[in-house]
């Protein structure tokens, strides 16, 4: 039972609940002590004594109203002197504490702002940053490097975009049909086009080609008189047949 009570400022114990079972001979003497040592000295800050002498064992339940500062309750113990064995022992402490005893515990506590300011000042958290701090310089340089890299990256992107635009224009020019409409609208040009299309005689060479025709006779001669059976195929047929028999045998 060490440090069973929170180490909160201003904690006050209002009561101690205990429950234990003592097994003993009704004709013997025994004394049970529940103690919380005094951390600042000797003895017990809290002490409860139950005298079970010449009494049969039983389960004891009790609540002892007290008023003790939590910081004065040290290591706890439950001991039996004389005959008897303690089992199923439970000790509960009923305590209260002011959560605003330390204003930093809750922003709603009065004087929270002043306490927080004092805490920050005490821990040097409000002092100006040390400009000679090598880590600070390193951090600034890292940010500058990052900015430069970003600018270079942006510049490259712009160049690539310009090149793409140039290529697109060239391709457009290549695919352009500019001037064709003028040729079509011109009567002389139309006549020339029609003349070119009507040059049917130029195709005559293709129509005039003859292909060698006639009768195509069999020219393959089998030299062997006997055609040998494919043994592999026969073996395969045999195994197929056997398989078929096995399958069929299941339905007989």
């Amino acid at each position: 039972m060490t440090n069973v009570i929170p180490q909160a400022l201003g904690l006050n114990v209002n009561g101690v609940y205990h429950r234990y079972t003592i097994e003993k001979d009704p004709t013997t003497d025994s004394v049970v002590k529940i103690c919380n040592e005094n951390p600042n000295g000797n003895g017990c800050t809290y002490l409860l004594v139950d005298d079970w002498s010449q009494e049969p064992g039983s389960t004891k339940i009790g609540y002892d109203p007290v008023s003790i500062l939590g910081e004065l309750l040290g290591k706890g113990s439950i001991t039996v002197t004389g005959d008897g064995t303690i089992t199923e022992s439970i000790i509960h402490y009923d305590y209260v504490y002011d959560t605003c005893d330390d204003p930093l515990n809750d922003p709603r506590c009065p004087n929270y702002e002043s306490a927080l300011l004092q805490y920050l000042m005490d821990n040097g958290l409000l002092d100006d940053p040390d400009v000679t701090d090598p880590y600070l310089n390193e951090y600034v340089q890292m940010q500058l490097d990052r900015k430069t890299e970003q600018e270079e990256e942006d510049g490259n992107k712009e160049e690539i975009a310009e090149e793409e635009e140039t290529e697109e224009e060239t391709l457009q020019e290549q695919l352009a049909v500019g001037g064709a409409t003028e040729k079509i609208a011109n009567a002389a040009e139309q006549a020339a086009i029609m003349l070119a299309l009507s040059q049917a005689t130029n195709l005559g060479a293709y129509y005039a080609q003859d292909i060698q025709g006639g009768e195509y006779k069999e020219n393959i001669i089998l030299k062997d008189n006997e055609i040998v059976d494919n043994k592999k195929a026969l073996r395969s047929l045999a195994s197929d047949r056997k398989h078929r028999e096995i399958v069929r045998s299941q339905y007989k």
């Binding site: 009704p26 039983s58 004891k60």
Partner: protein, 166 residues
């Protein structure tokens, strides 16, 4: 005129004093012994013909707390049940057994209550010689007929406790 009025008043007063009168005296006595059910019991059904509050048979022992704020002024009488307060229709007899024991005490000297208890029929009396709280546990067992099975349904029995002024 003043004299007349005074005489009249005397006559009236004299007339009033001549009748009988009853004056009530009222007082409240607050009991210094109180009984609280801390745990309701539950019957376990280990065999078809048996109902019991024993924990080993899946029952729950009822726990009764008796608080006394004035020492050596009360006895408490606790009776284990000898009949069902509600149950399905039973056609055979039920054999009842039970026991009342001190379960826990708030003062070490109360542990002698258990050895000094007086038992008769299904009643147990404890002499509450000390102020404080005492917890009692009640064991109750019901056996039906000659190993006959209990009909299905809900069975309820009541433990009665009473503070008796000494």
């Amino acid at each position: 005129m003043k004299k007349f009025l005074a005489t009249t008043a005397l006559v009236i007063m004299g007339t009033s004093a001549a009748y009988a009168n009853n004056t009530n005296i009222q007082g409240n006595v607050q009991s210094r012994c109180s009984i609280v059910t801390e745990t309701s019991g539950v019957y376990g059904n280990p065999t078809a013909d048996k109902l019991t509050t024993v924990a080993a048979d899946a029952g729950v022992l009822p726990i009764i707390r008796v608080d006394v704020i004035q020492a050596d002024s009360y006895k408490v009488k606790i009776s284990w049940p000898d009949s069902f307060s509600s149950s399905p229709t039973l056609t055979d007899s039920v054999v009842w057994t039970g026991e009342v024991e001190v379960s826990a005490v708030s003062d070490a000297n109360m542990s002698s209550y258990e050895t000094n208890k007086v038992e008769y029929e299904n009643d147990t009396e404890f002499d509450l010689v000390l102020s404080g709280s005492t917890w009692f546990k009640v064991t109750s067992t019901a056996l039906y007929g000659s190993t006959k099975s209990f009909p299905g349904g809900v069975y309820t029995a009541i433990v009665t406790s009473e503070c008796i002024p000494k």
